[in-house]
């Protein structure tokens, strides 16, 4: 019975590590989807000057739909800072980039065409850098997280035994 408990504890530790490494993947998915949204926005704004909410309601993205980002954006036509805070809280971003994104979304729609397109370009370049970094670090980071969790689980098991 004791050994079965120990085995279960180690397995739980491993699964916990796997879950944590999944969070890292979520960060990458958030960046990917946001870049896709911004690229779509830029194209529609540049060629058709489509108003924001028409643009948001026509955008489709599996990940954003799954985590409720599109639902939150299209819930109403409110464009307050609080709304964008709620939207950003659904995505997995680091605090520094979240601050920059909040500033971007709060300003969204208040700038003239040229300035608006420049701001989108700036945010896309920022996100692209982050995307490269996450992609580069992701496999090693996931491996490390899983290993550390597994080892921590084993260590705890030994101590408890």
């Amino acid at each position: 019975m004791k050994w079965l408990g120990a085995l279960l504890f180690v397995c739980a530790s491993y699964l916990f590590g796997k879950r944590l490494s999944k969070d890292e993947e979520e960060r990458l998915l958030s960046v990917d989807s946001l870049i896709r949204l911004l690229t779509y926005m830029k194209r529609r704004i540049n060629s058709e000057r489509t108003p924001l909410f028409e643009l948001f309601s026509s955008f489709r993205d599996g990940y954003f739909e799954r985590i409720g980002v599109l639902e939150e954006i299209n819930r109403n036509r409110d464009i307050s800072e609080e709304k964008w805070e709620r939207v950003l809280s659904l995505m997995s971003f680091d605090a520094d980039i979240k601050t920059e994104l909040l500033r971007f979304f709060t300003e969204l729609g208040t700038l003239q065409l040229e300035d608006q397109l420049k701001r989108i370009d700036y945010i896309v370049s920022l996100l692209s850098e982050r995307q490269c970094l996450i992609k580069k670090e992701l496999p090693d980071k996931q491996k490390t997280i899983k290993t550390v969790c597994l080892l921590a689980g084993m260590l705890m098991t030994i101590i408890l035994l």
């Binding site: 000057r49 729609g109 700038l111 003239q112």
Partner: protein, 298 residues
């Protein structure tokens, strides 16, 4: 104009300001021409030629006690006017106005850069009246003596655009006269508000007046072209239209006929008999409208 059309404008105002305006007595509310917001300045409404200031409770008050419009309120008003997408209205904003989804427009001014406005300081929400019979005296004159070019003159805010809207409607639907093919060169989306689709009316909006007059003359073969606020820039197009037999009904800003005669280009148009008729709009306790023959004062 009625209360419900003012109601349409409330959707563009931040709550505090719309509550103040809506608290005005009904008789004033029904006669408002403009609601003006100025960044860090007073909220005012215009009734005919009178400017009124409002306090927080919507009472008429002196300038010093008027509601001060905050930066955030101006920004919110612009956000509402542009549906949160200023870039969609870039071309209009560069020309100093934002078309309203309910018809009409809001005039804007502020700090400009090479792309247009970098910051908006003032918004003028203009209410567009449709009073069908205001141009009846002119219609009677045209019905009796045939269609003739007409210049409508008055200082700003005396109802020139309302008069043009009325004459466009009356001629196009044939009220008091046989229906005419009327084309409106509506550069700033103002004249045709509320009369789209009336009778034999064609509207060309958003194009500079000179170009619009030329285009309408060539493509729509109208009997009458109507446009607002002609200036020296449109003289050539107006003369060209005159040579094709199209009559022009246009408005100009001026205080009186003497001022009209002093303007070189306008004098040229009058001497070329582009405008055999002149309508002078005034205010004498109520709005007045006087139809004259230009030969009488030239």
């Amino acid at each position: 104009m009625n209360e419900s059309s003012i109601g349409l404008l409330f959707r563009y105002l931040p709550l505090r300001l719309s509550v103040a305006v809506n608290s005005l007595p009904k008789d004033i509310l029904e006669n408002i021409n403009e609601i003006r917001l100025r960044k860090r300045g007073a909220l005012s409404v215009t009734l005919g030629v009178t400017n009124l200031f409002l306090d927080g409770k919507g009472n008429i008050c002196p300038l010093g006690s008027a509601i001060t419009v905050t930066d955030e309120e101006i920004n919110e008003c612009v956000r509402r006017l542009t549906e949160g997408s200023l870039y969609s209205y870039d071309e209009y904003v560069a020309c100093g106005f934002i078309p309203l989804s309910c018809g009409g427009r809001a005039g804007v001014c502020g700090k400009t850069n090479r792309n247009g406005f970098s910051e908006i300081y003032s918004v003028n929400l203009r209410l567009h009246r449709f009073i069908p019979d205001v141009a009846k005296p002119l219609v009677e004159e045209l019905a009796a003596n045939g269609i003739k070019g007409t210049v409508v003159c008055s200082p700003p805010a005396f109802g020139k655009t309302t008069f043009l809207r009325s004459i466009a409607y009356l001629l196009a639907v044939g009220k008091g006269i046989e229906p005419k093919r009327v084309a409106v060169a509506d550069e700033r989306n103002e004249i045709a508000v509320g009369i789209f689709g009336s009778g034999l009316l064609d509207v060309l909006s958003g194009m500079p007046k000179g170009e619009a007059i030329t285009l309408l003359t060539r493509t729509m073969s109208p009997e009458i072209i109507i446009c607002d606020e002609i200036s020296a820039n449109e003289t050539e197009s107006v003369l060209e239209a005159q040579n094709t037999g199209v009559s022009l009904i246009a408005s100009v800003h001026c205080r009186d006929i003497n001022e009209l005669k002093k303007r070189g280009r306008m004098k040229q148009l009058l001497e070329n008999n582009v405008f055999p008729l002149c309508v002078v709009l005034g205010y004498d306790g109520g709005y007045t409208c006087k139809v004259m023959k230009t030969e009488d004062f030239l």
